[in-house]
Amino acid sequence: MALPSYTETRYRIWHYFYIAICTFVFFFLIAPLFVIFPLSFNAEEFLVFSEGMKRLDPDAFSFRWYHEMVYGTKNPWGLAAKNSFIIAIFATIGSIILGTLAALGLSSRHMPYKGLIMAVLISPMIVPLIISGVAIFFFMAKVGLAATHTGIVLAHIILGTPFVVITVTATLSGFDHSVTRAASSLGSNPVNTFMKITLPLILPGVISGGLFAFVTSFDEVVVVLFLAGLENTTIPVQMWTGLREQLSPTILAVATCLIILSTLILVTAELLRRRSERLRGINR
């Protein structure tokens, strides 16, 4: 963004102003995440930077809260983490299967009422979570699935499928259908064609949709708050209770772990997106 030498002074000033605004916004976006890191190593029990930490005194830092998170007495994080992973994994699998099938149907040019059906399939992403939570709670209570893992998994499949549908239809939009016709003309049956030809080509889209579904489930708290009993507590529910009731630095230790996890997921998603664009021949 170097300015040409003939730029007038007022545009020069404007340009630096613009850069300053952008720097501020990027800082605003990313800085809050980094405040959690140092504070999670706080040796004291408060959620503020102690005098020792400001002086960078090594005694003011400790792994105390990470230790508490893993070995603490009566601590809920172990159960919560186990539940979160189990629920998220099953919800992701369900979302991927239902979402991919639907996306395959939707991107066929023979599909009737495409717009309307797409609008219905995407709606769980648009409808406020609190309303989804109320509706799903009424349903699960009626069929006796409230306060069960199954109920929460089903709820998260509802919330996760829109992401899979969107990413897979996006991948299929650049899909060359003549390759599947070629496979069929060479004697392959539809299932075989899907497994050997279509799936490998749309796999980046499927996986990135799956990542969205995983994160949605892993991070979802509103619906779980309605559905979960004590046994079904998840990491977000524990964080929610923690933030409302007793603000302990253990939460920051958990939050740090979650930031690391999301960084890993982000990197995977980005690599997949680039690979998918390469495969579809989109060069930017």
Binding site: F28, L98, A102, G105, M111, I130, I136, T167
Partner: protein, 420 residues
């Protein structure tokens, strides 16, 4: 004869047109069958339950079912003066049945909502019935009226009559701070008790301002990301995507740490001398906290659609504008800005839709003055257990969201939503 000669047959003798139509139909069914599992799943677990929320929100069969004889007897009562003896007798017999099953408490509570003071007088009646103090051989009307002067007040009987229809829109009126007055007309609640209208307005206000803030902050950085060379923009894109992928609760937690009175932001203000150390402003548990946290959390949803539109605008258009004599400002305003309007529409609608239904962040950093309509719905679901009212408010919110969703679909198309 000419049409017959033009008809083309396939190898098995069927006209090509028919055969093609058949194949077309088969393909349609095939495509639909692929979508069917998800569609069916969503209809059963999601769409119908939302529809059921409507039934629940208007359902008022409880009293109807509890006082069947009373309402039958009331059919011939004009509702102007005290009801005749038959109504009292019917009510007595219905109520006695409830007392025997010990369900009269629910009736008292429900009627108390309709008119204050019912709880006391139904309890009095219940005690007398339990002690067999009512002589059924004499006039029930006289005896009931003697229990409490309210039983002799026609307004209380009118209130019972109002609960007769099995369906009521009362919950929706309550959501807008209105109610059915004694004569059946719609009235406003007292000015100092209009809490719901304040909440609706506040929800709209916060959603609107968060959208504006997101736009003002998102537009410049989306522009920067779209115009920078790839290797720099990829790095900066992480600043947008990392918060996007990070848990909502983690981001809210970090704002709670930053904005607290002894927090980093206040420390900074004290350091640069903006505020005195003993006079730190409260930035959390009020609207400020909600605005700041929601803007940061929803900003990626503004930047990503803007970025994907700006990426498609060729830089030579701006150069052309400038070479034709426009200053950079004119070129931007007349050429670049109009081209980004689809992205602005998409981003603003998305942020607005998400903001209007926000629950977690306002509940944690909003305090009393920063909570939104969603928090009220959750409160009625969990604390007061008035599920029909929660359903009614939810559906009122939903109808607003669906209107915006419809506009969004018309303008952007749901199939054009881009993620990441």
């Amino acid at each position: 004869m000419s049409s017959e000669t033009k008809q083309i047959l396939t190898t098995d003798g069927i006209p090509l047109e028919v055969s093609l139509k058949k194949a077309e139909k088969k393909n349609k069914i095939k495509a639909f069958l692929l979508v069917a599992p998800l569609l069916l799943f969503l209809f059963i677990t999601y769409v119908f339950p939302i529809g059921e929320m409507f039934t629940r929100s208007v359902d008022d069969r409880m009293v109807t079912n509890m006082l069947p004889k009373t309402f039958k007897a009331m059919e011939s009562w004009d509702g102007k003066e005290l009801p005749p003896e038959e109504v009292f007798t019917a009510f007595y017999s219905d109520f006695k049945f409830l007392v025997e099953n010990e369900t009269q408490g629910k009736l008292g509570q429900r009627l108390n909502k309709e008119k204050n003071g019912f709880n006391t007088i139904t309890k009095k009646l219940m005690r007398l019935i339990k002690r067999n103090k009512i002589d059924e051989s004499q006039s029930i009307k006289e005896q009931i009226m003697k229990i409490h002067k309210r039983w002799a007040n026609v307004e209380y009987w009118q209130a019972i009559k109002r609960t007769a229809p099995p369906y009521t829109m009362a919950k929706y009126l309550k959501g807008m701070d209105m109610y059915f007055a004694a004569d059946g007309s719609i009235a406003q609640v007292d000015e100092d008790r209009r809490i719901h209208r304040i909440l609706w307005l506040r929800t709209l206000e916060i959603a609107l301002f968060v959208t504006i803030f997101c736009f003002l902050m998102g537009y410049p950085i989306a522009h920067l990301l779209a115009t920078l060379p790839m290797k720099y923009s990829n790095l900066l894109m992480i600043c947008v995507l990392l918060p996007f992928w990070t848990s909502l609760l983690v981001r809210t937690a970090s704002w709670m740490i930053l904005l607290q009175t002894q927090g980093v932001v206040n420390d900074f203000f004290v350091l640069i001398g903006l505020v005195a150390d003993d006079n730190r402003p409260t930035m959390m548990y009020n609207k400020v906290g909600t605005y700041v946290a929601m803007t940061q959390i929803l900003l990626p949803f503004m930047v990503l659609p803007l970025y994907s539109v700006m990426k498609t605008i060729s830089p030579s258009l701006m150069r052309a504008g400038k070479s034709l004599g426009g200053t950079p400002f004119v070129a931007f305003w007349k050429v670049y800005f109009p081209l980004t309007i689809p992205g602005i529409g998409a981003g603003c609608l998305l942020v607005f839709i998400l903001a209007i239904g926000y629950y977690i962040t306002p509940a944690l950093v909003g305090g009393a003055s920063g909570t939104l309509i969603s928090n009220q719905i959750a409160y009625h679901m969990k604390a007061t257990l008035d599920w029909s009212f929660a359903s009614a408010m939810g559906l009122m919110l939903l109808s607003g969201v669906l209107v915006i969703y419809w506009i969004y679909n018309k303008l952007v198309g749901v199939d054009n939503i881009k993620l990441g």
